[in-house]
């Protein structure tokens, strides 16, 4: 049986990187006595896969990982036990059964993610900060070309079509961005392009990055229909 766990990461735990979050949850599994399944072999490890790593410095309300269970466990019990075994800075929000199909893991089906990007309140006074009221004009462009660095090459791509939705909020901007293995754009690329559009230096340390949610695309025939990863699971009674 497979289960999907949704958690939020906040406060000082934004300084804990992805690999350490994985290690953290491996230990939580033991402390909370969650009946997680192991791989075979000489050094068995827990069957656990994260939908999308969250970088150091980011906070999130919608992080996901999937696990294989060796025995069923009640959803609300599991959430409670994991939080009791946890620390301030990570809160488990849900624990749901998902389809056993291999192609349905969070990592495979991830299609989009929401972000909220705001300005930090401790930016130096001399800093040139972006004016979010001009974001609409920025998005009004036909295309937004950026240079995308990969391990082997760099190429120019148009990220405009990968920004699925956006909204200017009181102190920043909300973005719904393509995510996952086929199309992917990170919020820092968008903000870099925005700063360039405003003709100001793109100092990314002025922003607070917060991931809100992650989605799968359940649409058919090229029609996009985003469903949160959480909604693809159901509570275990």
């Amino acid at each position: 049986m497979k289960a999907r766990i949704k958690f939020r990461k906040y406060g000082v735990l934004r300084f804990i990187g992805h690999l350490d979050v994985m290690r953290y949850f491996q230990k939580v599994m033991r402390r909370a006595d969650i009946p997680i399944a192991f791989t075979g072999g000489y050094s068995p490890h827990m069957i656990m896969s994260f939908a999308s790593p969250l970088g150091i410095g980011l906070t999130s309300d919608g992080e996901y990982f999937d696990i294989e269970l060796a025995a069923p466990v009640n959803s609300s019990d599991a959430v409670r036990r994991m939080n009791e075994a946890g620390v301030e800075g990570i809160e488990v929000l849900s624990f749901r059964r998902i389809s056993d199909e291999k192609k349905m893991t969070g990592m495979t089906i991830l299609a989009a993610a929401d972000y909220l990007i705001t300005l930090r309140d401790d930016c130096p006074e001399t800093a040139e900060l972006p004016d979010f009221s001009r974001f609409a004009a920025f998005m009004g462009q036909q295309e937004i070309r950026i240079v995308k660095q990969t391990k082997r090459s760099e190429r120019e791509v148009d990220i405009r079509p990968l920004i699925y939705d956006w909204e200017v909020r009181p102190d920043g901007v909300f973005l719904k961005l393509a995510a996952g293995s086929s199309e992917n754009v990170k919020p820092d690329l968008v903000m870099e392009a925005f700063c360039r559009y405003l003709d100001i230096p793109a100092d990314l340390s002025h922003f607070r990055w917060h991931r809100l949610e992650m989605y799968a695309d359940m649409g058919k025939d090229g029609e996009r229909s985003l469903v949160t990863l959480e909604d693809l699971g159901e509570d275990i009674q």
Partner: protein
Amino acid sequence: MRKLALTDEILLNIEKPARYIGGEVNSVQKDKNKVDIRFAMCFPDTYEIGMSHLGIQILYDMFNRRDDVWCERVYSPWTDMDKVMREKQIPLFALESQEPVRSFDFLGITIQFEMCYTNILQILDLSGIPLHAKDRTDEDPFVIGGGPCAYNPEPLAEFFDLFYIGEGETVYDELFDSYKEWKRSGEPRVRFLERAAQIEGIYVPAFYDAEYKEDGTLLSFTPNNPHAPKKVRKQAVMNVTDAPYPMKPVAPFIKATQDRVVLEIQRGCIRGCRFCQAGMIYRPTRERNVERLKEYARTMLINTGHEEISLSSLSSSDYSDLKELVNFLIDEFKDKGINISLPSLRIDAFSLDVMSKVQDIRKSSLTFAPEAGSQRMRNVINKGLTEEDIINGAGQAFEGGWSKVKLYFMLGLPTETEEDMREIARLSDRVARRYYEIPKEQRNGKCQITASSSFFVPKPFTPFQWASMYPSEEYMRRAHIVRDEFQAQLNRKSLKYNWHDERGTVLEGVMARGDRNVGKVIEEAYRLGCLFDSWTETFRYDLWMKAFENTGVDIAFYNLRERERDELFPWDFIDIGVSRSFLLKEWDRAMAAEVTPNCRMQCSGCGAASFGGGVCYEGKN
């Protein structure tokens, strides 16, 4: 939500920000207004090293059990953070509260190895605490040192208000109660030190005067305060089974060097190797009850979520109930994906059997510590391991499927001859030959014998405390002799030889047996920029040499000089239970290459039985 001492901008631009944020699983938060004593417990090295240390976990837990004490942790900021803190004038803070260390009542520093001494000064300096105890005021915490290097605290005497000599479990409660009384009394700082000096095991350096002879050796070492005892008695907890042990050790977010549950099965060692300080200062041997250990293993694994458990002791094979404990760990935890790590096991049929159960034979290697290549040299150091033991042990291992062996040696031991050095290579080759005695079709390709040598540094309170060392070039020369001899061996393609950097050895020697004059070299080295001296990437031998030059402190006096049999040593005011006459007798036996039986075979009357314990004592009572 907890507030951090450092801004995002700083934390996002340094290596491993998790080193500085605290908040780990099982870390302790308290209301600072509801405690009387705030204690900052420091391991003066990186977070990852410090978090791996059992002693701090024990004291952290023990102190925090008291409602009136809040013990927090402090580690050395790595060089990148050190730079930022100096530039921005950010005072060093404790992880839990993120508040400046200077506002604490105590700063406790565990001193585990000599090469951390400049880091101690960094901790004081970044905290804004005067480096010299005599310059501290009511605004400063009391700086207290402990750990193995506190058995010769003299090089650090100026920098500490007090030292705790021995195991922390015994008199800290008394010290804290006495501190509270002093605090209520409103008396000056020195009055607390006077109270502390009367507690057994506490050494207040300012209360003693050291006088030197013309040749630089110690003439006398006497108390200058009526409250200070002539001798300071080491502390040892005699009932280790009922001593406090942390059931909820702090489990870090980032990977610590030792990221696992540690079961300390015993203290002390029956072996009596003559180079080994731990083997003398932790006498008498005391075992923890096996049933208690089983209970601890279960509880600690659940409370931490660690996926590995390890035994800790100086010589696990000597623990009486080892079989029972190891079989329990395997039966109970092996199927739950818990790794079982069994260090310091003697290689025999039993250990090979359990190791084949807990590790992948093809990938893992077996470790032997012959310490010396020739039998003569092993007799000198009293390492009761014969060549037959090694070859037979390796042979059994090879037949059981292992093909990798690690061998640990020391170079530069007292009386060492060129023949002794060459025997290191030859012994390694004989181990390899044993492997190739196995028919080709039954063995698993080539074997891999890795020999490593470190250079011997004489330590206080060992029979070798009288031994002289060598100049830096001589260590190099000896390593080259061994290396060349490896080249001449039949199985040289299966052999690998590594040796440790010789430059640290000389410094370690000066610090280990130094007196109060060495303090100024440490301070000068720190002033010149030395920090993290045990890390190859930061070790600055050139600056250290400059510090010796600038202060006029002579390395040869500490390292090369012959010490007289009756010389008064800087550490002689400490009473470790083991008598000086026993150490001297052992030194003489070493010179005659005579072996002394281990404590279980026969009591040699070392004096540690005065603590009312140990295998010799238990035998008689």
